[in-house]
């Protein structure tokens, strides 16, 4: 067995849905031990979110949960009970990292703020991932994915188009903002661990999902602070073609930022006559006449499937790609050649392939050693073997609603 990069690192997750769980999945998949504390009976909210295996809902059947919680251990724990609160703190003593994504007011009510936990474990790195962060006037605002995606600027830029009508802003598919926050949380946590070795103390990491989006808005912020240019609405693209083109069975996106790329595409199209029109002579002129250009390109692409256009264009070195759907991704030869999907067996979901490693490490490979845990599957291992409670204690704790 090759080494794991993060073996020996102990993490407690007290989170729901995507941001905190993705953050700790990244850690678990590189070898950290992640204990996931879930509410008794119901568990992580993701357990109750689609998709479910064979469309049959159940706390152990969510594909979202199963993906996000590989390699983790699950315990049940209700920190609202006095005993649950005590157990939570006992666990905090034993770990390097706590990752949570609860509203700041909830952590305060529970008496589980960094100020309190720091006293129990001065080396603790606590990472809190919330919609608007731990401070500021909107700290306690309620938010879901759409709230932070669009409140972080990403929706507004989706309205940018080169002709009418301007449609209301849309969010991206799935929960991209929360994934972004989870990723940023994972990196900031590593920095805090690195700092711990130097300063001999843990610290609190405050990740605001709104800031995660706003800080990764390409150069949009500077379009305003440099040039008073508010993005969105009908805009004039400087160069073309940078547009979706319709094919027989779907769409492709072409992005010819350089003239030579467009010239390559002209060859791929078999040098049609219309290209010689003066208005298409260079990228700037094509941008001015996009209204005329796009239908002519579409006339050609519509004769083929998106895959045919993709392969022809790429053979001619044209930056163009099809809008794949999930089925096309699962069947992609590229992903198959790289063994991207990984097969995982699960007692309720069965043996299926999941999206795999986000990176390949030569010495310390990413790997799935364990499927996502059942709710409370590791209660005995953690409470009895680690914290020293007896099996009879567990029985009482379960009946009391603590675990």
């Amino acid at each position: 067995m090759p080494d794991s990069a993060l073996s020996g690192l102990k993490v407690l997750e007290f989170g729901n849905l995507v941001s905190a769980p993705y953050c700790t999945k990244l850690m678990a998949d590189l070898g950290a031990e992640v204990i996931k504390a879930e509410m008794p009976g119901v568990g992580d909210e993701a357990r109750r979110r689609e998709p479910f295996a064979e469309d049959r809902p159940g706390v152990e059947r969510s594909g979202l949960f199963a993906y996000l919680n590989t390699n983790k251990l699950s315990i049940t724990l209700n920190p609202r009970t006095a005993m649950g609160n005590k157990l939570f703190k006992e666990l905090v003593k034993q770990v390097d990292v706590l990752v949570e994504n609860n509203p700041p007011s909830v952590m305060e009510e529970l008496g589980l703020t960094y100020e309190i936990l720091e006293k129990i474990n001065p080396l603790l790195v606590m990472t809190s991932i919330t919609p608007f962060g731990q401070t500021g006037p909107h700290r306690d605002y309620k938010a879901y994915e759409i709230t932070v995606y669009q409140g972080g600027g990403y929706g507004y830029v989706s309205t940018a188009c080169y002709r009418e009508p301007v449609m209301p802003p849309v969010k991206a598919g799935g929960r991209q903002a929360q994934f972004g926050a989870g990723q940023v949380g994972s990196v900031a946590t590593m920095f805090a661990l690195h700092a711990r070795d130097q300063i001999g103390a843990g610290q609190h990491v405050d990740v605001s999902n709104q800031e995660v989006m706003a800080g990764h808005y390409e150069s949009a912020i500077e379009h305003w602070t440099f040039a008073d240019n508010e993005l969105g609405g009908v805009i004039n693209l400087i160069v073309q073609p940078m547009v979706p083109l319709e094919c027989k069975d779907g769409w492709v996106f072409i992005m010819c930022v350089e003239d030579f790329q467009f010239n390559n595409f002209v060859k791929v199209m078999g040098n049609p006559e219309w290209v010689n029109n003066e208005i298409f002579k260079d990228r700037y002129s094509r941008a001015e006449h996009a209204e005329a250009l796009v239908p002519l390109l579409t006339e050609w692409t519509k004769q083929y499937t998106k895959e045919e256009v993709f392969q022809m264009a790429q053979a001619g070195h044209v930056p163009l790609a099809p809008a794949y759907n999930a089925e096309e991704i699962v069947n992609s030869h590229q992903l198959q050649a790289r063994n991207y999907l990984v097969e995982i067996d699960h007692p309720e979901i069965g043996r299926v392939r999941y999206p795999g490693a986000p990176y390949l490490l030569s010495e310390t490979p990413w790997r799935i050693a364990r499927r996502a845990p059942l709710l409370g599957e590791h209660n005995e291992e953690i409470y009895c073997n680690r914290l020293g409670y007896t099996r009879q204690d567990l029985v009482k704790l379960v009946q009391a609603g603590v675990i």
Binding site: V170, A172, Q203, S219, V330
Partner: protein, 406 residues
């Protein structure tokens, strides 16, 4: 206390545009010494990209995009495609801890700077290669940019309006995603290096990273053979869940999202409990989801009477998730982001004082900071080749003349 936690870590940035430069910028924010390697033959494309301050003549140093992405770095001009340039490049790499590059697959290898070559001069280096589609497989050489990549990843297929083209997000989401995946892997590798002394090679396929951020879509196909398609702002089960037009100007929207009967009751009371909210077709979550088109027209008739922040304040007060769809301007003016000190201003000899987004997260004891504006072309040639590598000034001058430092 504000110790710069990555002091002592040296990063060589062979990045271009976004993914690589953001990776390196983040390390610079935490105090690493980042050396950006460019030459006039191959310079970072963002030096040529908007925005600029109106009225300022465009130079290689004053683009807003470049300055946003390259703070806290040193810049050298080094033509590594020459034998002497390559030798000097390796000298820099010999004192580095981390190399990051996001060129098209194969470029670094052709330059003589592939992992094997670099490992020979520095076995402890962590070498991060952010390819588009990976370094193996039938599509490894395909030409890709951010937006086509969003298409290829499946994300565009589930973004946008059902009767329109898949939406490319208008932002290269795969780039920051690759940067942070890369950073996390790098710091895991660094931890491993502390224990074993071993460096390693990290490869990212930006495409695969994006696919992994869509488990809802992927697992629905894998588990149920269902192919999800774009549904604008609709959620799997929440309703209302949309962007609603507001008053106070063109192109103003607010998002409202309701997940429970409790939140629904709060929304109704904030709207003054109009008669339509009492209809059976909106009586429970399932009915609201089924009839959301009609419900959204009612809600929009109400939101249009108020500004974005008015709607958001009224609804947040009663526990309903509502917030403006902020533009770039909206973000810069947002009271909350300003109260948290998210934006920072710094000076630049060619641009003057401007505001930029600052640190991406807050750390209570070692917050990091912006120490340096983005470097001018070749600004640190003398520092890096003279002070760090110990070349005498005459030799540096000669290298400039011979267009090795170019």
């Amino acid at each position: 206390m504000n110790k710069m936690v990555l002091e002592g870590i040296t990063v060589v940035d062979f990045g271009n545009a976004w993914a690589g430069p953001l990776f390196a910028r983040t390390l610079g924010d935490m105090g690493a010494r980042v050396i950006k390697v460019e030459s006039l033959k191959h310079m970072d494309v963002t030096r040529l990209l908007p925005p600029w301050v109106p009225g300022q003549e465009k130079t290689l140093n004053n683009s807003g995009y470049y300055n946003y992405m390259n703070r806290n770095k040193l810049a050298v001009q080094l033509d590594v495609s020459t034998p002497r340039g390559l030798e000097l490049g390796k000298k820099i790499l010999a004192i580095a801890d981390i190399l990051v590059e996001n060129y098209a697959f194969g470029v670094m290898g052709r330059l003589g700077l592939g992992y094997e070559a670099v490992r020979e001069v520095n076995p402890r280096i962590i070498y991060v290669s952010m390819t588009s589609l990976g370094s193996a497989g039938p599509m490894k050489n395909y030409v890709m940019y951010g937006r086509p990549q969003v298409y290829l990843s499946g994300l565009a297929h589930t973004t946008g309006y059902p009767d329109q083209a898949p939406h490319p997000l208008n932002i290269s989401w795969g780039d920051p995603v690759a940067s942070y995946h890369g950073l996390f892997a790098t710091f895991s590798a660094l931890r491993y290096r502390q224990k074993t002394g071993k460096g390693q090679f990290i490869e990212l396929s930006q495409w695969e990273g994006l696919i992994g951020l869509q488990p809802e879509t992927m697992m629905d196909y894998i588990l149920n053979k269902r192919v999800r398609v774009r549904q604008a702002n609709r959620d799997e089960f929440m309703a209302p869940h949309n962007a609603y037009r507001c008053g106070g100007g063109d192109l103003k929207w607010v998002t409202i999202a309701v997940a429970s009967d409790e939140e629904w009751a709060s929304l109704c009371s904030a709207m003054g409990n109009p008669a339509w909210t009492k209809e059976d077709k909106f009586a429970d979550g399932y009915s609201r989801w089924k009839n959301q088109e009609e419900m959204d027209r009612h809600i929009e008739a109400w939101t249009q009477n108020y500004t974005q922040y008015e709607v958001s304040e009224m609804l947040q007060k009663v526990g309903v998730a509502a917030f403006p769809c902020l533009s770039n301007r909206g973000l810069v003016e947002d009271p909350h982001l300003n109260a948290r000190g998210f934006f920072e201003e710094w000076d630049h000899p060619e641009i003057g004082k401007r505001r930029y987004d600052g640190m991406t997260w807050k750390m209570s004891k070692t917050p990091g900071r912006i120490q340096k504006r983005a470097p001018l072309v070749g600004e640190h040639n003398n520092y890096v080749f003279g002070e760090l590598l110990g070349l005498p000034q005459e030799e540096i001058d000669r290298l400039v003349e011979e267009k090795i430092l170019f």
